[in-house]
Each structure stands twice: as structure tokens, then as C-alpha cells.
């Protein structure tokens, strides 16, 4: 039971307030601190090498790289329960078996889950994974029954992640998973269903403003919702779990469509949409996107995801306005907005360092990825391990593909706590247990293949691993967005050398490195790294980026 009491938001004049409001390109120092900040916000668990490369390459080249999207991989079959595809091959174009479908459904859903969690570990430096998760949170449609439909849905997010937002909304409107999720498939002229219409306005595009009259939400009205529901009629999903070769598709049927003329409210300039069949939804979206508030709404969401929860009046009137201007000027292409944001003075302002508590996926990946812990097992173990990894992040509050409500994860919208929503007495315990588990056991496949945090690999990657003070300094650079106190550094160094002093640590490390095959020496050094990392992972500082 969550015993957390709501945080009182500190008035904006008391914190921050001094941060730069300039979206002009950042010209300040470009050191590990700034580079690591950029990477922690745009990538899951950046490694020491990635941070150092970013410093060497400079801010601009690094942002260019981040905005490049790497090639896709495909989810592959790994479970023998799969009836059609074979282990090691992808199932995305395969039909479903005619009978006893459930085992194949489960096998493919787990394959998809393993695949998306594996994508989090892609070593290529790119914003793609964080953008995908952002869109998953924004268009929070869930489906754990039709795997090909689920794949199609997430690929829409991935392919569009830095692309045209207007087009994404159009594509999402008739995406089979979204149609099923928000009852688009049962919205027809005989019985309209307003579910999608409501969320389209409230969540996905223009956002709800203050309620200024009965049924009037400043940006749209209840009447708009009703009209939009009619506009959306006629779409159904076909080949759901079909055993033929056809993929799941959304198709338009005139017979189900409401052909009457629809008129929106004055919020949309009383726009009229004549009967145009399957073209109506796109026209509607064009009309919605004529309102600049759409740009502000999505920019606020991007801001909360990448910068800070606190949309103060001044931030709204400066930063958000500038971001929205760029979005509109670029015909709703997302990339130019991210481009400006990630190069801006505002983004690198020290007052905005450490504004976000890591979500569970950030938390878990930062332990594995930042330490460059790798594994190379066969398909079965690999997928099992990534599945379990995904279950564990779910256990600490965030399962990929499963936002708990249509508005997404609470940390991104719930006043006043926002990212503090990830932390309560139960969850903090689980995070600590998880870090202990990851260090001392690691995620484990059925056949016993394990994926622990590679403490020795991490240690050996440091410049001066025999120097306990240096080791702690490197860990701090890697994991902490702001400096630790001297007392904390001393505590960690004393943990590493077990209170035996620096010389003893140096001796132990040198003994190990002189013959790394000597298990006893390796174990000594590895154990000290583990207990040190555990102490670091337990610190509040580690939970913040």
C-alpha cells in the first residue's frame, strides 16, 4: 500500500527560476558532465565509452548521431510452443494456426516482449529507443492477444518516432491495435462510440483546457467529440488471429459509416466535414492540426519526458512556445524540435540537471548497459533473459507495452509528484532487491545461462582500476548526474577497499590482473566491486538523472 503523501510543489520562484530560457545553441563547456546529461536523457544506460566519445566528438556531432535511426531488427521465434514459425526465424508475416492458437499467441507475444526489451540494449547511440517509449506512453494502446497486430503497432511508433506528427496521428487513428483498443471497431453509424474521439482530442492532439462551461474544455467541446465519433465510423479490423496468410489490417466499410455532414464547434472554426468516406478522418486531423495548441500540447509532453515536469508559466510562454513554433514551421516534423531542444542553452542549464527520477526501465538498463554488461547466448536463452528483464522492470512499475491506463504512465502526467510516482516504500525496496539480484545473480534463463552485471569488465575499463579513489570517481561520472559529497565518496572508497585502505585495494587488484584466470583473486576484486555498486545503487543520487 502506497504510504507516500503528495509532494507539495515548490513555487517556481523558490527553485529553478534561474535557469536559462534560451533555446539558442549551447556554447558552454562540453565535458563529461554535459555529455553524460545529454546521453542519460536520450539513451538508456549510456556507457563510459559512449560518454567519452560524446565529449570527443562534441555536442553537435553527438546530437546528429542521436537523431539518426539505426536499422531495425526483427523479433524471432524462441519458444517451441510456436506452431507455424521455427526457432530463430521471425514470425511477423506468418499466419496463425487454425486450431489451438493460444500457445502460438503466447510464444509470439513473449517473442515480441523479449525483442523490444532487447532493443533497449542496442549499443548504437540513438534516441530511437527513448522516442519509441515516449510514443508508447503517448499513444498508450495495449494488446496482448494478437501478436502481429502488436508488432505492427509498435513498428508504427518506431518508424514515425522522429517523423511527421500529423501523419503519425492519422496512421494511428486507423491502426488496427488502436482501433481495437479504443473501440474504433465497434464505432459505427448505428451506435457511435466516442472513446477514440475523446482520447484523440484530450490526449493525443490538442489536450484538454480548463472547463469553462458545461461540456466546454476551452480547446474543444463535447459536441466536437460526438461529431468526431461519427467521422470515425466505418473502420473495422480484419484477419485478427487469422490462419490465412493475410496480415491484420484495418478496412473501411461504407455500410458502417455515418455519411451525414458533421460540423465542429467554434473551437475549430465551425469546420464542416462532408461525406467523404474513408478520407474523412484525415481531413478531420488536418482541421485539428490547424490549431497551434496541438503543437504546444505535444511539445509539453516532449518537455516533460526529456527535460522537466515543471511547466511553469514562464517555461510555457518561452520554451514551449519556441518549440511549438519550430514544430509548426516544420509542418509538424518532430525531429527539428528535438534538434533544437538537445542543442539548447536551456537543456544544459545546471538548474535542470537531476530533474527526473529514473523510470524503472531507465533504472534497470542503467545498471546493465552503463556497465557494458553483455551476453552472447543462443536465441532461446537470449529471449528468455530479455523477457525476464522485462518482467522485472514491470515488477518495479513499468512493463513495456503495458502502460496502466490510456493516459500512459502516471509519472508523466500526475500532479504534483510526476516522476516521484515511481518511488514509494514498496517500490524503493524492490529497486534495492533488484539491484542486489542483478549484481549477485543476474537474470537467468531456464538452462541456467545468466546475465549478471559485469563488474570486472566495468572495473577493467577504468583508467586506473588499482586506485580506489579513481574507481569511485569513474563510477560517479558514469552514474551520478551531480557530484557526490566528499563523505559519500569516502564511504564508497572504503567500501571498495573494505576499510583496509587504498594500498590493500591496489594489491588486490594487481594480484587479480597479474593472472585474471586465478579465480580466488578475481572473486575478491569482483566482490568488492559488487558491494560498492550495491551501495551506490542504494543511494538516492543513483535514482536521479
Amino acid at each position: 500500500m502506497n504510504t507516500y503523501t503528495a509532494k507539495t510543489p515548490i513555487p517556481e520562484n523558490e527553485i529553478g527560476g534561474g535557469e536559462s530560457l534560451s533555446m539558442a545553441p549551447y556554447t558552454g563547456p562540453w565535458t563529461k558532465a554535459q555529455a553524460a546529461h545529454l546521453l542519460r536523457r536520450t539513451v538508456f544506460g549510456p556507457s563510459k565509452q559512449q560518454i567519452e566519445d560524446a565529449v570527443a566528438n562534441g555536442m553537435n556531432a553527438t546530437v546528429d548521431t542521436l537523431l539518426t535511426l539505426p536499422a531495425e531488427t526483427l523479433p524471432v521465434t524462441y519458444s517451441p510452443d510456436e506452431a507455424v514459425s521455427s526457432i530463430g526465424n521471425t514470425w511477423i508475416n506468418d499466419y496463425m494456426p487454425a486450431t489451438n492458437q493460444q500457445p502460438t499467441i503466447t510464444a509470439r507475444i513473449l517473442s515480441l516482449f523479449g525483442w523490444i526489451n532487447q532493443e533497449l540494449f542496442n549499443p548504437t547511440l540513438s534516441i530511437k529507443e527513448k522516442m519509441t517509449l515516449f510514443w508508447q506512453n503517448h499513444f498508450a494502446a495495449t494488446n496482448d492477444n494478437e501478436p502481429r497486430m502488436a508488432y505492427d503497432y509498435v513498428m508504427l511508433l518506431r518508424n514515425s518516432c522522429l517523423g511527421n506528427f500529423r501523419q503519425l496521428v492519422k496512421d494511428m487513428t486507423i491502426n488496427p491495435q488502436m482501433l481495437v483498443f479504443l473501440n474504433g471497431t465497434t464505432n459505427n453509424k448505428f451506435s457511435p462510440n466516442e472513446n477514440y474521439a475523446r482520447e484523440l482530442l484530450e490526449l493525443y492532439t490538442i489536450g484538454k483546457g480548463p472547463q469553462i462551461a458545461d461540456g466546454d474544455y476551452t480547446n474543444y467541446t463535447e459536441h466536437d467529440i460526438a461529431e468526431i465519433a461519427k467521422i470515425m465510423t466505418g473502420w473495422i479490423v480484419e484477419n485478427y488471429l487469422a490462419e490465412s496468410g493475410s496480415l491484420v489490417t484495418s478496412n473501411f466499410y461504407d455500410i458502417l459509416h455515418d455519411p451525414t455532414t458533421k460540423q465542429l464547434s467554434e473551437k475549430f472554426n465551425d469546420a464542416v466535414i462532408q461525406d467523404a468516406g474513408d478520407a474523412e478522418y484525415a481531413q478531420l486531423i488536418d482541421i485539428i492540426f490547424q490549431q497551434d495548441e496541438v503543437a504546444r500540447h505535444i511539445c509539453r509532453k516532449l518537455y516533460r519526458w526529456f527535460v522537466n515536469y515543471d511547466l511553469t508559466p514562464i517555461v510555457n510562454s518561452t520554451i514551449i512556445e519556441e518549440m511549438a513554433d519550430v514544430l509548426i514551421a516544420n509542418d509538424y516534423e518532430i525531429e527539428p524540435v528535438m534538434d533544437m531542444l538537445l542543442r539548447s542553452e536551456h537543456f544544459y542549464d545546471i538548474a535542470l540537471r537531476g530533474t527526473i527520477i529514473k523510470n524503472p526501465i531507465e533504472y534497470a538498463t542503467s545498471m546493465y548497459k552503463s556497465t557494458k554488461s553483455e551476453m552472447s547466448y543462443g536465441v532461446v536463452s537470449t529471449y528468455e533473459i530479455y523477457n525476464i528483464f522485462g518482467f522485472l522492470t514491470g515488477d518495479i512499475g513499468m512493463s513495456y507495452f503495458a502502460p496502466p491506463q490510456v493516459a500512459g504512465w502516471t509519472a508523466y502526467y500526475q500532479q504534483p509528484g510526476f516522476s516521484q510516482m515511481w518511488i514509494n516504500a514498496a517500490m524503493i525496496k524492490k529497486r534495492v532487491e533488484y539491484s542486489w539480484f542483478a549484481l549477485y545473480n543476474g537474470v537467468e534463463a531456464t538452462n541456467g545461462d545468466k546475465y549478471p552485471i559485469d563488474v570486472l569488465g566495468l572495473l577493467n575499463s577504468f583508467d586506473f582500476p588499482a586506485d580506489d579513489i579513481e574507481v569511485i570517481r569513474e563510477l560517479e561520472v558514469l552514474f551520478c548526474c551531480k557530484p557526490l559529497s566528499a563523505a559519500q565518496r569516502t564511504f564508497l572508497a572504503n567500501t571498495l577497499n573494505a576499510n583496509f585502505g587504498s594500498a590493500v585495494w591496489a594489491g588486490a587488484y594487481n594480484n587479480y590482473i597479474a593472472d585474471p584466470s586465478d579465480q580466488q583473486n578475481a572473486d575478491i576484486v569482483a566482490n568488492q566491486m559488487r558491494v560498492t555498486l550495491l551501495n551506490l545503487f542504494k543511494m538516492p543520487e543513483f535514482h536521479i538523472i
Binding site: 509532494k7 538548474a351 524503493i428 580466488q520 575478491i524 543511494m539 538516492p540
Partner: protein, 520 residues
């Protein structure tokens, strides 16, 4: 004569105590029978870890081989006339340890000599691991106290704290939980920072930021504190507890931590184990000051230790909780017999450790180590008692854990030592203990007399001395005895030197034990 022979053959209860026990009041041991706490439930164990490897030879000095000590470690040896006499002329204590010497003379300090393990690992990390886990051979996942707690808390930590166990099982004073308390699933110790020092690990201490970052830190910090259900009980016990001794030195960190421990115990905290640490014993150089071996790093560490334990014991007595607490020191190894050129010593092997409390069995357990008359490179003290047997005996005697359960916690064949059996007193003996409590005699080898210790029910007992041919050489007595533990002093000065048996015949079971009479 060979003093090591009986090590391998040590059977339950048969210990070796040096023969020259002049001045040690054997009846002080009997006194302790009346100063015990009846129930194991109330009992607390205090472990003090000496981090770095304590130099046993300058702590407990084997005076009977002082000349050889001069040959081995002349540049650091304590002047003979400054060694504190412990009422015997064959060993003494470092001069700075006046507090613990005082406890020794009051029968509250037990010195167990030559504790270690075979095939010593001289790596700090590895050996400390061995000592804290109580496992020599395997990479142990659990600590010896963790296994003890696991033995009656199979579901821990699920469902804890609860009405039966509302308080932490163990407290590790400091920032770290203790490896000794690592259970299969979770660690039984709660890390409690020194309550007199309010610095908090989690936040940027001196200047909490008024920033988004600072508010997140403070928030997470508060949730962590909330999630610690034990924390409130610890704080309450500190409030409810008391401090009565005036001997604590505020600059002595160990003393102040022990003061907090006494306070928590007196305040009603039901925690069973407290673990404390003293750093700095790795005295490779500057162990003593050149020209003044009674000063230096080692001396200040021993002063810290002795003063703190002395103040603690004083406080426990004043608080009226002395019978509830047993303490023990341990270190990952002793140091080499020979000193080095830097006025220090290097990693060695076995060393003495201390057990303290109001009901310890024997003031000294074990022989003096053998000090050769020439330096053997890198030689340490040979092991006489396996440290795991010390642990096992404490679990058995102090926490009244049945022997079979104790054996299950250790990899080796456990050999129980009489460390704190007096704590279970005559009236506190259960049938279980009657069976399990061993029979022994001390001193063995003996010269003029030896005391035979055994337990009987209320029955007729015959005690005799028998030679190696089975002939009775002495009839000591045949009489009705009460159900209790008996200490019978037997004169041996008219026996010829050699090996004998004492034979105890009684309806509840006859017992025979071997001892040796020597002339010199």
C-alpha cells in the same frame, strides 16, 4: 614437551589449559554459575571486528618465552616489566589494556589462544570473508549468524517485522550491513549509523540543494526512511534506554558506539546481535614508535578497544543487564612472529581472541603459542582452535542451540569448547543440556591438581582415577550428588608422571576422560 598433540584429538569438553595456573582463582569460575540469564531469548551477542589483522603477540604476551620473543621482534617487543600481569607468570597483557586486565581479574574476560584455521589465507579480503561467513572452503553465500537466524526464520524477510520478532535481529553499527548476518535470502542486520553523529548517507549533507534535484533527493531519502520499519523501534529504544557509566570517552568512537548499544539494550530493543568495527590493525609499519614500544598505532588501537569494552561492561553492570550480554572480538588473522624493519609486523596466522561477559567459563583457553629461538621467514602462530568452533560454542552455550543444529551451520566437524556454559547455570540446565554438556578436566596436563567438571542427575556417583592398564590408582569418592554441574578438585601430586583416566560411574551414564600428569 609437545603441546600441539591434543589439538587434533580434542574431544568435546576436553580442553587444554596451561599447567602453570598459579594464582588463577579456580573458584572464580564457580562464582559465575550464579550470574547468568536463564533464557536465551534475552541474550545479546556483541561482536567487535578488529579490521586489518591484530598482532596477538603484542596483545597477549607469552612471558614464558620472552627471551625468544626478543630474538624474534626486538624492535617492537613490550618491555617485560611493563607487561600487565594477569596473575600468572607465563602470560601477560599489553600495558595499555588496563581496562580489560581489570575485567580479567574479575573473571569477566576469557582469552582464547591461537584461534584461526588451517591453511591460513593471508589476504585481508579473503580471510575476513572466511571469518565472517564461517566457511573456509567454499565461496559462502551466507554468514554464520545468517545461518543461525535462518535456522528459525525460514521465511525471512517475508512477514517481518511481526509481533513475535518486531525488532531487527542484528544491528551493524555503521553504514554497512554485516556479512556475518547474511542469510540465504536477505541480510539480518540493520545498518545503524552512530546515533551521536547525525550525518546521513543519502543526502548531500552540508548544503541541501533547493533545486529540483535537491527535492528529489529529499523525497527519496524520506521514502527510504519510511520503508525501514525497524528504524522506528531502534529510535524508540534509544529514547527509552539509559547510560550509567562515566567511563566512556567521547573521543573513543568504539566506546560511544558501545554506549549506544547498551542504551538500546536497556531501552528494550530485542535485537540479538550487534556488530561493531575498529579499523587500522594492519600495522605493517609504525606499529610501535621507534624507541618506545609501548606507544604507537597498535597501542592506541588496543587502548580504544580496552577502554571501550571496559566502559561497556561497567555500564551493563550499572544498568543491571550484565548477565544478558556476551561479547567477542575477532580479526581476520594475527601477525608474523618476527617483526619487520619498519617497526611493524606482516600478515600472519592464528591469534588470541577475547570473549567477555559475566559468565565466561575459563579465563584462559589454550596454550601459549610456541616461539622458536630463531626467525623462520614469514612464520605465524600455529592454529590451536578453529575459529568456527568458537562460533559453534557460542551458538551452543550462549544461544542454547542444540549441537546437531549448530553442526548443520558449519562445513567441518564441529568441536565444542567450553566458553560460556556457566551461563546456563545448574538450575537452568535442561535434559537436552544434560546430555550435550561435555565432561572435561583442567589443567591438562596437570601437576599438583586438576579439576574434573561433569554433570550428573540427582544420583549416586563414583569417581576414581585409573591408570593406562585399567588399574584403579585412586578412589576419589562414592556419594549421592545433586542434579547440577560439578567441579571436583583432585590432587595429583602423588601420582607418577604419565597418562591416566578419570572415571565417573553413575546410573545416568558413565564417562571416562584422559589426562596427563607431568612433573615439571
Amino acid at each position: 614437551m609437545k603441546r600441539r598433540d591434543f589439538v587434533r584429538n580434542t574431544s568435546i569438553g576436553a580442553i587444554g589449559v596451561p599447567f602453570a595456573l598459579n594464582g588463577i582463582q579456580m573458584n572464580t569460575v564457580l562464582k559465575k554459575l550464579f550470574s547468568y540469564s536463564k533464557t536465551a531469548e534475552d541474550r545479546v551477542l556483541v561482536l567487535i571486528r578488529l579490521n586489518g589483522g591484530n598482532d596477538g603477540l603484542n596483545t597477549i604476551i607469552p612471558l614464558d618465552q620472552y627471551d625468544n620473543l626478543v630474538i624474534q621482534r626486538n624492535n617492537i617487543i613490550i618491555p617485560q616489566n611493563q607487561v600487565i600481569s594477569l596473575g600468572t607468570n607465563y602470560l601477560g597483557m599489553h600495558p595499555i589494556m588496563t581496562g580489560m586486565a581489570d575485567m580479567f581479574s574479575n573473571g569477566k574476560l576469557s582469552i582464547i589462544q591461537n584461534v584461526g584455521y588451517e591453511q591460513q589465507n593471508r589476504s585481508h579480503f579473503k580471510s575476513m570473508d572466511i571469518w565472517t561467513t564461517g566457511n573456509v572452503n567454499s565461496n559462502s553465500a551466507t554468514g554464520w549468524l545468517g545461518r543461525y537466524f535462518d535456522s528459525y526464520n525460514p521465511n525471512f524477510p517475508n512477514g517481518y517485522p511481526n509481533a513475535n520478532y518486531p525488532h531487527p535481529f542484528a544491528i551493524s553499527m555503521g553504514y554497512e550491513v554485516s556479512t556475518t548476518c547474511q542469510g540465504i535470502v536477505s541480510n539480518y542486520s540493520l545498518a545503524v549509523q552512530d546515533p551521536s553523529n547525525h550525518t546521513d548517507l543519502g543526502t548531500n549533507i552540508s548544503n541541501p540543494e533547493t533545486s529540483y534535484y535537491g527535492t528529489h533527493l529529499a523525497f527519496i531519502e524520506s521514502v527510504i526512511n519510511q520503508s525501514n520499519e525497524y528504524g522506528v523501534h531502534v529510535a524508540d529504544s534509544v529514547d527509552a534506554g539509559n547510560t550509567l557509566s562515566t567511563l566512556y570517552d567521547p573521543d573513543n568512537r568504539l566506546a560511544m558506539q558501545l554506549r549506544s548499544v547498551a542504551q538500546m539494550i536497556s531501552g528494550g530493543l530485542k535485537t540479538k546481535v550487534y556488530i561493531l568495527n575498529v579499523n587500522g590493525f594492519d600495522t605493517h609499519d609504525g606499529q610501535v614508535v621507534q624507541g618506545d614500544s609501548t606507544s604507537g598505532f597498535h597501542t592506541s588501537l588496543l587502548k580504544t578497544l580496552s577502554d571501550a569494552i571496559h566502559a561497556f561492561q561497567d555500564d551493563l553492570a550499572l544498568l543491571g543487564i550484565e548477565e544478558r550480554v556476551l561479547g567477542m572480538t575477532f580479526s581476520e588473522f594475527g601477525r608474523q612472529i618476527a617483526s619487520n624493519a619498519s617497526y611493524g609486523t606482516d600478515h600472519g596466522d592464528a591469534a588470541p581472541l577475547f570473549v567477555f561477559g559475566s559468565c565466561i567459563d575459563a579465563p584462559i583457553i589454550g596454550d601459549n603459542p610456541e616461539i622458536l629461538d630463531q626467525v623462520v621467514n614469514q612464520k605465524g602462530i600455529d592454529v590451536q582452535y578453529d575459529f568456527r568452533d568458537v562460533y559453534a560454542s557460542i551458538l551452543h552455550d550462549w544461544f542454547q542451540t542444540p549441537e546437531s543444529e549448530v553442526q548443520a551451520m558449519f562445513e567441518h566437524q564441529v568441536s565444542l569448547l567450553p566458553i560460556a556454559r556457566s551461563c546456563n547455570g545448574p538450575a537452568g540446565l535442561t535434559d537436552n543440556l544434560l546430555e550435550k554438556t561435555g565432561t572435561y578436566c583442567y589443567p591438562n596436563p596437570c601437576k599438583d591438581a586438576t579439576t574434573i567438571v561433569f554433570v550428573s542427575k540427582s544420583e549416586s556417583v563414583t569417581l576414581s582415577i585409573v591408570d593406562m592398564n585399567g588399574r584403579i590408582v585412586r578412589n576419589i569418592f562414592q556419594k549421592n550428588l545433586a542434579q547440577q554441574e560439578h567441579h571436583v578438585v583432585v590432587s595429583t601430586n602423588d601420582l607418577d608422571a604419565g597418562n591416566y583416566f578419570y572415571v565417573i560411574e553413575k546410573p545416568s551414564g558413565s564417562i571416562k576422560g584422559r589426562f596427563q600428569k607431568v612433573d615439571i
